[in-house]
Amino acid sequence: MQASRARLFKEYKEVQREKAVDPDIQLVCDESNIFKWTALVKGPSETPYEGGVFQLAFSVPEQYPLQPPQVRFLTKIFHPNVHFKTGEICLDILKNAWSPAWTLQSVCRAIIALMAHPEPDSPLNCDSGNLLRSGDVRGYQSMARMYTRLAAMSKKG
């Protein structure tokens, strides 16, 4: 408990310092609870998510960093490894491949990498996974782009 708090505090300071360095990720701690964080990540370029800003919700367990944080998309996203309704993310480092050397910031980077490189063989969103597995890349891209416009870009307008 105390260890997780101390570590999160360190991460918090680090995030403050690194904000300018990495403009694609904006990681914010809940004002009343250091175990709740939200992140805004920019969709990676040359992907259907380009131009979108996606919100992630982090829920950090008390055993952190021995246990991974729970992360989900708050913004709707059409992606094979993200549950369309709940925003749950299928990413090995958030499950059994977790290592305490990851930080919330680096988890954000991993999620951005996942957005750029979907893994259709372990789909949480079957529609999207099937499109990719059947080789319909264009279909997948247009769907993903549409949802990016609908959900991830509307706030800007």
Partner: protein, 394 residues
Amino acid sequence: MGWGHLGRHGSDSDDGTEAGPSTAATEPRRFPLAAQPEMMRAAEKDDQYASFVYEACRDAFRHLFGTRVAVAYQNETKLLGQMLYYVLTTGSGQQTLGEEYCDITQVAGTYGLPPTPARRALFIVYQTAIPYIAERISSRIASRGIVLADSESAEGFGENVHRSHGSQITGTGPLSSSGQSVTTLSRLKGRLSAFWLHFVQRWPTMLPFVRELLQLAIRANLMLFYFEGLYYHISKRAAGIRYVFIGKASNQRPRYQILGVFLLIQLCIIAAEGLRRRNFTSIAGSVHQASFASHDRSAEHYLPVLNEEGTLATPDVDKGSWVSDSSSSEHHAASGVSKCTLCLSDRQYPTATSCGHVFCWNCITEWCNEKPECPLCRTPITHSSLVCVYHSDF
């Protein structure tokens, strides 16, 4: 009170504190006071049974709502479990399982009657809800204090996000003072909110200190218990619930006064030391980082250097590579003080894995309990292969 004479181990202090002259006639009917071993055994049993209930609650939660929710509401489940146990036993006016096991029962008041429902409810609240609520409030204040402290020191980029809470909280001061005319009342209010703000900001650093005080209070209570043999829990002391022995009176039961003496000595030493140091600010500071103060003091001011560059002997920091270049840009990246990648603090008792990565002893052993692989390169490791690098100045 009468039973002090009957129960031959009832201490003299009992008679002194509650000399009820009117009960002299009923003296033979009194049960003897419960002895310390019985109370402690009962408390231990109760803890065990309460934890059974808690585990059952947790399992039920997990089946109903999934692991995620169950983990998120762990503390609440624990509260529920304890509440259930004590409400069903003490609350309904019966012995708890532990008390039954040890043949003791609760009494209260000068006449040694069974505690009233109100008193029992009070005890249950003290025993279960108060610690939970205190922990809750403290953690909330602490995290708010951290945010506040940082929104003050954060420069540039951080402002747009955190200014909002900062101003929201500081805003209460001026608002209340301008709303009313400039009376002493409003000034007092302003000062109070300023004090509150200060308090909130200081709380994260005060927290370990307060915890220590709490520990001392618990120990002091234990010491008193060893001496007088009345209240094993602070909650029972607060609710005024004592125990009498209702079983068959048997052989002489031991008393723990000697332990009380030792505890008293320990507390005296701690108090003396506390007085000697006297310097409370330095205590709060040094508790924050128990290691080499000078390094930490400086490191805390310009936010700590994170991450993988701490592990100097890492040829294969594949996932850390992007961090190291950014952090080396600013102030003296590897300033001789090396960081542990797990707690992001200075390494304490540097410990090397067989793959050559170095962490704190505590950090890596805890992770090793979780999963026996190196956090950085995933090489399989074992507890026995960890080497604490004592004879090297890492």
